[in-house]
């Protein structure tokens, strides 16, 4: 291939027939492949690369969609530095990702239970995965109804059982709204993680357990010294997907609370969304692009750091 390139480079000045022949050969060899890639690559360029380029450009611009854009240098970044809502939203995003502490232990325990021979394990497995395939926005709406203080199901139930005297205003209090969103997100995602854990457990060869049995390793020891280390790779993937997944999601909050009350559930990604589609006339999209790009850079740093940290978890390679 390098020979080919060198040949054509040499031949550029005088368009001799040899050059044309090598170009023909190149076309015959790769033409169909490029032709087949044409459509996918076009879509990729237009809908993936172009928007990223757009965002990178408008970090340095003021643009509100009506008046002509103008170059403002680092003004957007200065504004970001002083944006209290943004910095507190980052903190909330981190706090929100703590929901993996509800989600993953539950998923792991359920996977352990379902790994053993158990009647109806396929039914249980399907039931736990089900929330994952339901539309999140619609289920957030259902949750909104369920948690409503006036005629929502949860308050009706709690009142009936005389656990509370007055309906709880789940979504009007900052902390309760936040916690409701965390629980709901954990509800939607624990099943898929359980499935991943199950795959990890099944990938451990049976004879490893058998020899462990001979050595008298049982119960907790078996898990600590065999299951968890042997699942290293898949465990790393589950953790990565969950952490990064929650760090770049807006949870159910767009529908559940729309960031309220009083920005209590305004996660960073919801904040970015509101910059562009907040419904305020004359908002500066350049600033939205700045928020998005800075957040994206942080995420890249976090994921690279994560991979460096967890290299040693990789037992299989």
């Amino acid at each position: 291939m390098s020979k080919l390139a060198a040949e054509s480079e040499l031949a550029v000045p005088s368009l001799n027939p040899g050059n044309r022949r090598s170009f023909k050969r190149f076309l015959r060899k790769y033409g169909p492949a490029y032709l087949m890639l044409l459509l996918p690559v076009c879509f990729f360029t237009v809908f993936s690369l172009y928007p990223i380029g757009w965002a990178l450009k408008y970090v340095f611009y003021y643009y509100d969609g009506v008046r002509p854009e103008r170059f403002t240098g680092l003004a957007n970044l200065h504004r970001l530095m002083e944006d209290q809502i943004y910095w507190s939203s980052l903190w909330k995003q981190g706090l929100f990702s703590l929901k993996i502490f509800i989600e993953l232990p539950l998923a792991f325990v359920l996977a352990l239970f379902l790994y053993s021979h158990l009647r109806g394990r396929n039914i249980f497995r399907a039931m736990f995965v089900m929330p994952y395939i339901l539309p999140g926005s619609t289920m957030a709406l259902v949750m909104y109804i369920l948690l409503n203080p006036y005629n929502g199901g949860l308050n009706q139930l709690l009142l009936k059982l005389h656990l509370i005297d007055q309906p709880i205003q789940f979504l009007s209090g900052g902390w309760t709204a936040f916690a409701s969103g965390m629980v709901m997100d954990a509800w939607q995602n624990f099943g898929i993680n359980m499935l991943f854990f199950l795959v990890g457990l099944t990938s451990i060869p049976k004879d490893v357990y058998e020899s462990a049995d001979m050595d008298g390793a049982t119960g907790w020891k078996r898990m600590r010294y065999i299951s968890i280390p042997m699942m290293g790779r898949i465990l790393q993937m589950i953790l990565f997907l969950s952490i990064l997944g929650t760090l770049k999601s807006m949870g159910p909050f767009l529908v559940l609370t729309n960031g309220g009350p009083n920005n209590a559930t305004e996660l960073t990604f919801l904040y970015i969304f509101h910059q562009f589609f907040g419904g305020d006339a004359g908002s500066n999209y350049g600033y939205g692009a700045t928020v998005a790009v800075v957040t994206a850079l942080m995420l890249v740093v976090i994921s690279m750091g994560y991979f460096r940290l967890t290299k040693k978890m990789d037992y299989h390679e």
Binding site: F43, F44, F47, S137, T138, L195, F276, A292
Partner: protein, 276 residues
Amino acid sequence: MKQLLQGLKYIFLLAAAFLTLVPVLYVFFYSFKSNQELITGGSLFPKVWTWSNYSEVWQKLDFSLYFYNSVIFAVVSSGMSVVMGAMAGYVFARTQFPGKRLLSMLIIGVMFVSLGPMTLYPKFKLAVDWGLTDSIYTIPLVALYGLGASVFLYEGFVKSLGQDMDEAGIMDGAGYFTRFFRLTLPLMAPITATFFLLEFIAEWNNYILPLVMSIGNPDTKTLTVGVVELRNTGTGAAAWNLLLAGSMISVIPVLTVFLVLNRQIVGGLAQGAVKG
């Protein structure tokens, strides 16, 4: 002792399963209640099964249109992403074309930073400028943001098929496209079916993209958008029975697909773990 443990296991599993099902059971049973009964409360089961909730939502509140839009949106976008993934994956597996490294690095890079809301506005603007938001048939094109995981999924699969058949095809004088469409594509049928299924579910559930793309053109709303918006309209805010019936309409199709094909779906999702 062992039996006791087994019993505890079952109790735990049953409790978890019950909690998992509660929201779904809630929306199912409550969607058949009259608005009156919803306000006064009562047991889980409706006293009178009010089927008219559904017919009212379906006919008066345009849910038949939203349903149609959802089907088009999900089928077109998942179909296209399967086709693109298969084509690009085949090329990646079979040809060492110049620029391959650059392209795969770009794809991986974009997968890393592809942040929904970040790129939504430029996409929206582009779609409006090109007139793509005018019809539900063109909106799915915007949903296709990338090649992403599908390319590598197909690349791995095609590589696992081995070269033999392609070499035999070359001997018989079959060209590149013939080899793809006639030889490889049929073999990819099972993986394609699973992939399409998962993609279909994901696109059916997609909320933010259809929400943004239907700004200014209510005729292109999908079910997920329509049902949430119902809450903000006068009729919906006061009539929760309609809200719940609407929610149920958007849930029923995926739930049915899942009940019928849950082996394939669970298997496909689990495969994602191995590949990842």
